[in-house]
Amino acid sequence: MEAALQGASGTGWQDDVFRVLKDHDVKHVVYVPDAGHSTAIRLSEADDTIHSVVLTTEEEGIGYLAGAWLGGERGALLLQSSGVGNCINTLALQVCAQFPLLMVVTMRGDWAEFNGWQNPMGQATERSLNLMGVMTWRADDPKDVAPLLHGAATMAFNGNSSCAVLLGQRLIGEKKWVK
């Protein structure tokens, strides 16, 4: 965990996400794909010690991770901000049973968004999570990703808390709509 405590590793924030999850003994990476998560998804799928589970909708991951924790193992949910909206009612499970929940959210409708249809949920993402009892941290600078994710994972797994790190659109970069 030392590298996480010291901040970014110099290999890029995308690699930092996976490294910090590994440092926290995450055994299950469940996800709905997003370009911003592509490195963590690729590394998880290639790692025999991690169960990688592609979901049809994000709230499936909340139930899955509760089940994994009942069985003694840690996991994390990778999703896009639009998928936070799909999770809202299901988050009652974490509130009522206090399962640890670690979410890594790539933001849309957040900065320099080309598709305005992403804006309503993107603008409501952080407050929606907070309303449902999820603590949030925002990373807009590459060097903040590792320490913020380390902090969120620490508080999730040591406090039976719901914790989300939001990876801002300025961090991820503008989506190229015209090639």
Partner: protein
């Protein structure tokens, strides 16, 4: 969609009691509503995890649990309405194919908890056929108690991902309420597997 069967002849309490008799180290997850009352009526157990919210999540809790505990049989007991809300989960679970997971859908063809409105299952959607299309190792529709006994043996075998729809009578029986303290149930379940509270 062929002949539509709205529920069936089976007594839900008897089905669940039979499935859970002499259960040994079976791990059970229940969907919210009547399925959880049926499991509670069969006898509270440290290896039961009852959901009171998060409708549609029972099968996914079962998947996570089955993946983390591959040496134990995991049985999800839920209703047709609850499973319908997690329809996509059948695809997710089929890709993972845990050999120790069985989903038992108590299918009365109705949303029993909310006034017995007819459900999709009651209007012709066969969840076992959906699961078969997704690639579950074994699926079946069960309409008699002999089939329940056979299902119980399949649950114990841990030889492939399975889903059964159990055709039960559409009736609201007296509620037998499981504990509602989610933290207590979680900690009790984990302790039975040897995990201490944080």
């Amino acid at each position: 969609m062929g002949e539509v069967t709205k529920g069936g002849p089976l007594d839900r309490r008897e089905v669940v009691r039979r499935l859970l008799a002499d259960r040994q180290d079976l791990l059970v997850v229940t969907g919210l509503g009547s399925a959880s009352y049926d499991v509670m009526a069969a006898g509270d157990h440290d290896n039961n995890y009852y959901l009171w919210a998060a409708m549609g999540s029972a099968a996914m809790v079962g998947l996570g649990l089955a993946t983390a505990q591959p040496g134990k049989s995991v049985l999800v007991i839920t209703g047709d309405g609850e499973m319908l809300m997690g329809f996509g989960a059948l695809a997710t679970i089929a890709l993972r194919r845990p050999a120790n997971l069985t989903i038992a859908v108590l299918d009365n063809g109705h949303f029993g908890e909310t006034g017995m409105q007819e459900s999709h299952a009651g209007r012709g959607i066969s969840l076992d056929k959906v699961a078969a299309s997704c690639g579950f190792s074994w699926t079946g529709e069960i309409t008699e108690m002999a089939g329940v006994d056979a299902l119980k043996a399949r649950v114990a075998a841990r030889d492939g991902l399975k889903l059964a729809t159990l055709k039960i009578k559409p009736e609201n029986l007296p509620r037998v309420l499981p504990p509602r303290d989610g933290v207590h149930i979680k900690n009790r379940f984990r302790a039975a597997l040897g995990y201490q509270p944080i």
